[in-house]
Symmetry: C3
Amino acid sequence: RRGEMAKSTQLIDNEVFRAFATYTAIVLLKMMLMSLITAYFRITRKAFVNPEDTATFGKGESAKKYLRTDPDVERVRRGHLNDLENIVPFVGIGLLYALSSPELSTALLHFRIFTGARILHTLAYLIPLPQPGRGLSWAVGYSVTFSMAYKVLKTAWLL
Amino acid sequence: RRGEMAKSTQLIDNEVFRAFATYTAIVLLKMMLMSLITAYFRITRKAFVNPEDTATFGKGESAKKYLRTDPDVERVRRGHLNDLENIVPFVGIGLLYALSSPELSTALLHFRIFTGARILHTLAYLIPLPQPGRGLSWAVGYSVTFSMAYKVLKTAWLL
Amino acid sequence: RRGEMAKSTQLIDNEVFRAFATYTAIVLLKMMLMSLITAYFRITRKAFVNPEDTATFGKGESAKKYLRTDPDVERVRRGHLNDLENIVPFVGIGLLYALSSPELSTALLHFRIFTGARILHTLAYLIPLPQPGRGLSWAVGYSVTFSMAYKVLKTAWLL
């Protein structure tokens, strides 16, 4: 029993792994928030994509007009897809990075910059801020993941 | 040699981690199934998006008419994207949760409800079931991931 | 201090895990490359989706004409989404597979074939190659992930 507990807690006892867990939970929750914002805009803008979603607005032609795209909804959806494209590599490469024995301070720097950059990216997309605001925040997050991938490949390389 | 074996098998010997591995494999296989369903509808509805995919139907104008969208294909694709948006956070947060020493019974409850909710979500999307069937199954899966994220942040918090 | 180091490096000392880390970093970097290719085509084809992205081309009607879709941009985006749909299951199931004590040679075979298949898939999509080139490369990667999922479920099964 005790041996099992020790086994299950060892990774989470490691400080770099705890930092990775904290920032990964935060960026994934931020990504999940995009679903709620999409739902909010779909309901307030009355812009749906599935016929069954418009049933509460009546039947037939009266409901059909709500089957439409809305610029605000589409904007949130693009931000959501961009999150998937960038947060998936961060989580996958970040996990391997956290297991490659980086210095805690270096790891924290990577995780903090990525998380800050992705929050800025979402704000830049939704407000929206003029370019290059969104472009730069995207590039910063991208570079952090690239830097972690370099450390992973240097440490683990076995082809 | 023996030491290496022990190292590599220790996580998979942990019961919570075995449960996580089982349910994660199931939901990811379910997500992969969406690709096959999309292919099935593309072929039976003759609705393609790439010119090179219609070459078997002849050349030029006769093939060009199959470059079109089909409501059934688009429906499956939306279900697939919704899977990505929800199963990615489950896998990432669920892994950290499984390493945060939860009770086996609590962990199983989370994994089972999420997996059931996502299977129901797919059925509700593809049949389709009237709302709020799809909405509720989405919300249940979302809440499970949120609950796991709370446990992860409570256990690992290192900002 | 030493105990902590040992803890943090143990997974990365395992050869199967090192191979998994190497190939996962490679396929995730390949997926990230799709963002750069999309940006390249958006800029060279002058095809944007956000009004704020066209501001450098002037204001009003003169910039508005660059808010359009372009076949090359859309093709890269489809390749990127297909990567997400297939590389996410590979990373999730592959991690569990790497922890399920497979033979190193068997694991390397899985990782190498998947990585090769996904690189071929991208080439087949972007050039584009005539079918069934893209279809076959997709099916090979899909089968590798399926094979790893089978091993994971056989090893970990706890429902």
